[in-house]
Subunit: 416 residues, 2 copies
């Protein structure tokens, strides 16, 4: 039986799936509108950390070109301002962030070298009948545009219909790293959150920042003010706002050297509407199109789950494609039964954090207070970025949060 | 954290769960309206085979009092009449059938000896608030009556609203066993099916028969005619109908010795409406009631899945209760993610067989023809009684059935 898999989209989901399939001798064709060279010269699309579970899959795919022992970080630092409460949590194994303008082109080259096919160009839904005729299964991995909209929004796990944050992400220079290389979460209550990620770029180690601004707060200007119109003014605006809202970062900024690392292409501004979509659709000729990664679930980057969830789901989809022969709705059931909990947990936990960092419940404030005492609770929370379903188990209800805190209250690390 | 589990119903689901929990030191109380002694003297409720996967769980629960090596059978014989097509399939390990009037009381005693609590008496839904207050989780395992109706019918996997067969089940004497001890499936196209099960009773080995009669066929009389009114007439009716419809059984019947093994309590007549229900409900005080076994999914006995599915789901629920602390809707998600495919596959496959044995599709006729050539296909089908999700993988669509047949067509056992 032939196994011809068509993959629309060349992000983490599409490439990890394509590489998995090639590793197991399955024909795979990736459709994308950008060549590796075009990807290299593009504006940043996002800033992404790959957690240890994803790095482990990259080893399995033989694409771990940036060993986490050298390129990674092993800690989260947390700063809850304005007089920053400071604490930290350890990861069980290093996470790693590489500029996707390096990462994705390299994996595209790996895929092509290993017999994967690319077709470059812009597709439209009008192309679907022809694509369906060519492939046994279509996998859609693009979170925006008409292809994602093939999959209906699932209302129950999709509580929002608009972005929860005015977003800005950029890669900056002029920020001293923490003594231990770490991602740092800054929380300015009522105003925003900012995540510093030590990220490898063409110019070496730099600082990616995911800047999550509450609508209506002064920080919203960071998403609304175009950098390119007046770079100097934008940097002054950032410094002024960081001094007040993110002092735990500001204290490490060299105000004279601080700027985007490589000019206007190093920043992106906008917003993300979190959405979980139906996992598949059946095309007119009976071919199944299955949603993967962002097409399946688009998350706000607040806790960095998008790419990691996409890689996880791609691996499972790859295993199921290799193990099975018929790609129909029963096939999708098998895939969903395995990937569903993590995909949904990543979305639920991201949405939970967005809501509680906007308007904390008393239970979340108690949780944050306990987290602030560090120790095993902070470590478990931090390492939970690898396993969002475990964090959802711990945070889904006040009763669950209480049970989690109780488990950690006797470990000597807290004050109670 | 306390773990107090209330179990309503003392069938396979409730007892396997209770025994699992006691084995792991969890408090469990089983509510039932029958003492072991009352159960022993009761009318038969059903006739049940435990497949090897269930026998394996019984070993794990230390209740394997009827070792399958001695009490079991290792084969299915198939007879498709009226001029019977005969073939057979092997099980990878023996299945076993023991009269539930022996089996359930013995397991009840095991449960009590191991610290399990019983409360005997008839419950009504009015008792639920008081029960909810006493337990951290309520498990409902009764497929009939008001407790099952706490869980709404799930329409998608529940295509029927009335029974598909006029059913009769009884335990008979006067039927010679097959040379190799085996369950025998008799199919009388357009009229009915009859499954002979070598079953251990108080009086030794006897023959349980599950008699599945199509509505409107002459065989329906076997479900509609009361045995007790005139036992001799009923036996003559059976013999006349079996001679015509189930000659592969009739030829082994001693017409002078044939009768119910122990009188009128050895027969039950009626019908089952297959239904899959919502897996849980949340009671007024927040306590979750979770459906298990028949309360979750009631199947027609055509392929003997009810008790095996119930035992499987009970084991998983037991593992999850032991592993987790909070019994809420998130808990139910974890249980359902693990048990769902087998529960649903058992139901779908049972319904598929009911429909195709009533009005076979061309694809099913082709499948039955291939099955009739025996060999690896018949073995895989037979052993699939252990793993209904594998049979559903193979039978869910014509394309899947074709792929399955193709996999077996080159093994030398077929004629093609």
């Amino acid at each position: 039986m032939s196994k011809r898999i068509g993959i629309i989209g060349a992000g983490t989901a599409g490439l990890h799936l394509g590489l998995y399939l090639r590793r197991h001798g399955v024909e795979a064709t990736v459709f994308t509108d950008r060549t590796p060279q075009e990807q290299r010269g593009s504006r940043i699309l996002n800033t992404v950390s790959h957690h240890a579970v994803t790095v482990e899959r990259e080893r399995g795919l033989d694409v771990d070109h940036w060993p986490a022992e050298e390129y990674g970080y092993t800690q989260h630092q947390y700063r809850v301002g304005p007089e920053p409460l400071r604490f930290e949590g350890d990861l069980h194994a290093p996470s790693r962030s590489v500029d996707y303008r390096i990462y994705l082109p390299r994996l595209m080259e790996d895929f092509a070298e290993r017999g994967g096919e690319f077709e470059f160009g812009r597709l439209s839904p009008d192309d679907l009948p022809a694509l369906a005729a060519r492939f046994d299964l279509l996998v859609v991995c693009t979170g925006r545009g008409p292809f994602a909209e093939m999959f209906a929004r699932d209302p129950e796990p999709s509580p929002f219909t608009s972005p929860r944050r005015a977003l800005c992400a950029g890669i900056f220079t002029g920020v001293a790293q923490q003594p231990t290389r770490a991602v740092t979460f800054h929380i300015s209550p009522g105003a925003g959150e900012m995540i510093e990620i030590p990220t490898w770029t063409e110019g070496g180690l730099a600082t990616a920042m995911v800047i999550e601004n509450h609508f209506g707060s002064p920080l919203e200007a960071l998403a609304a003010t175009p950098y390119a119109d007046d770079p100097g003014a934008y940097v002054r605006l950032m410094l002024d706002l960081y001094r007040e809202h993110y002092p735990g970062c500001f204290e490490r900024i060299d105000v004279n050297g601080f700027d985007l690392a490589n000019g206007p292409k190093d920043i992106i501004q906008g917003g993300v509407t979190p959405v979980v979509r139906r996992s598949h659709t059946v095309l007119d000729d009976g071919t199944v199109a299955i949603a993967l990664g962002d097409a399946h679930s688009t998350v706000d980057p607040i806790v960095g789950q998008g790419a990691n969830m996409a890689s996880y789901a791609a691996w499972i989809l790859g295993e199921e494609i290799v193990a099975r022969e018929v790609y129909d709705e029963r096939f999708v059931e098998h895939v969903d039964r395995r990937r569903g909990d993590r995909v949904l947990s990543a979305s639920r936990w991201s949405n939970f954090m967005l809501e509680n960092l906007t308007a904390p419940t008393p239970q979340f404030q108690e949780f944050l207070g306990a987290l602030g005492r560090g120790g095993s609770l902070a470590d478990e929370f931090t390492d939970g970025f690898n396993h969002p379903e475990r964090l959802w188990d711990a945070l889904a209800t006040p009763e669950r949060t209480r049970a989690w805190l109780a488990r950690h209250s006797g470990d000597g690390s807290g004050t109670d």
